[in-house]
Symmetry: C2
Amino acid sequence: MSHIQTYLINGSFDQTISPFDRGFAYGDGVFRTLVMRDGLPENWPQHYQKLVADCAAINIVCPSAELLMSDLQQLFLPDGLPEDQLVVAKIVVTRGEGNRGYTPPPITAPMRVVTKSPMPQYPDERFVKGVHLHVCEIRLALQTKLAGVKHLNRLENVLARMEWNNPSIADGLMLDSEGNVIECTAANIFARFGDTLMTPSLHQCGVAGITRQHIIDIAHTIPLKITIELFDLKKLFAADEVIICNSLYGAWQVKTIQEKTWPKGKLAANIRAALKA
Amino acid sequence: MSHIQTYLINGSFDQTISPFDRGFAYGDGVFRTLVMRDGLPENWPQHYQKLVADCAAINIVCPSAELLMSDLQQLFLPDGLPEDQLVVAKIVVTRGEGNRGYTPPPITAPMRVVTKSPMPQYPDERFVKGVHLHVCEIRLALQTKLAGVKHLNRLENVLARMEWNNPSIADGLMLDSEGNVIECTAANIFARFGDTLMTPSLHQCGVAGITRQHIIDIAHTIPLKITIELFDLKKLFAADEVIICNSLYGAWQVKTIQEKTWPKGKLAANIRAALKA
């Protein structure tokens, strides 16, 4: 009856997460969120490459791509879902079990967890008309040793997401402690100035998502130049167009942030098309 | 056969941690580490008060003291250990299960996990002669919304602890990103200047331990004045004596940090005596 299972731990439907797992104890691990289409992960090479890099950033040996792909197939293939039905997979890799205390065990056996969740039912309006963003009060702390990594220490995102309840707000814009625009709680951000697409540098904080990287890679096909640098909210408000992006919805046009409103633009639609091409 | 169990989840020996638990997914929870003596938690009122405060800091409703005490008794009383045998309890409270994504569920059912671990076998030398500290390369990021809270986002401590293997190093001194002395990976720190005991302010980062608070409260009995403020490594090296403290070992005299050596002092022994009184 594996089709009713919603997760797999180390390739088993019976294994459980120990309270001594360092992912649970310290957030000592990393994760990925990806779309499964017809039982296959979208953009798998990019997701796996990022998982390996994020594991390396905190000195965890990433499980092999074969092992993770086998997990995904075991959890998602028996679905018998209608064609083109999308489901969300999350892959978590932790440092595995250890004794109490911060010292990692001399030999670690990383744990891998794969979960299955429904695809969010985004309102069509967000793709057609664009989205409204909240500006979060909580600021991202600067930590160069963890910047860019999608690790399990996500309390800042949790506290940020708790700042609003209004369902008409699509996401919250997060600034760093110095006032630079960095990202949204679950998305990266791009701003167009003329023929240049600008995205915040993530060398001090933030998560470098694979859709962000994908957009950087294909920007020349739109065609737009790419600039990666830090800029503040005032600069963002001076942009011709703003979009946010992630692995689930691709890209959304930003319509309003606080008192700033942008006219209807085509950047998000163009980027979604370029991402698919 | 509960005496061989090493943990209890929501009061049950059979319950497991879900991958959808937000403590596992995001480090969305807090914890306490305490000494169990003859089956009873040391300094329980202080630990519980801090647990309640830390839960409140991230908007989790803390389980009642009665419930947690009942968990501790269930896990620790059947030991039949020799008198005065010490064991370490860890209490974790998370926001409980949620759907994928940062949005907390509208109604949360916090999860409580209690674990049992052996008391570390600290070398006598650390109590008698004092300890050597490593100065960590990784700096603590500044996040006022989480400062002082013993939450589950502890990757900075994990990375810090990975910086040394030498067993003669008792702990690693952590500075913040501005160069202020803050704490050790698993301890708070105090420096004596004449008749004044100084400890770093933890309003920007760090964990405000209950032993630190206990020392602040009883300093006048030593007698010493208390000052809470930020200071750098140079100022620390100018101190007459330095000690580190936590709930497991009480207090240790610091003997050396880098090239700085302090003569044998009595501060840690005096503080240990005052903590017991």
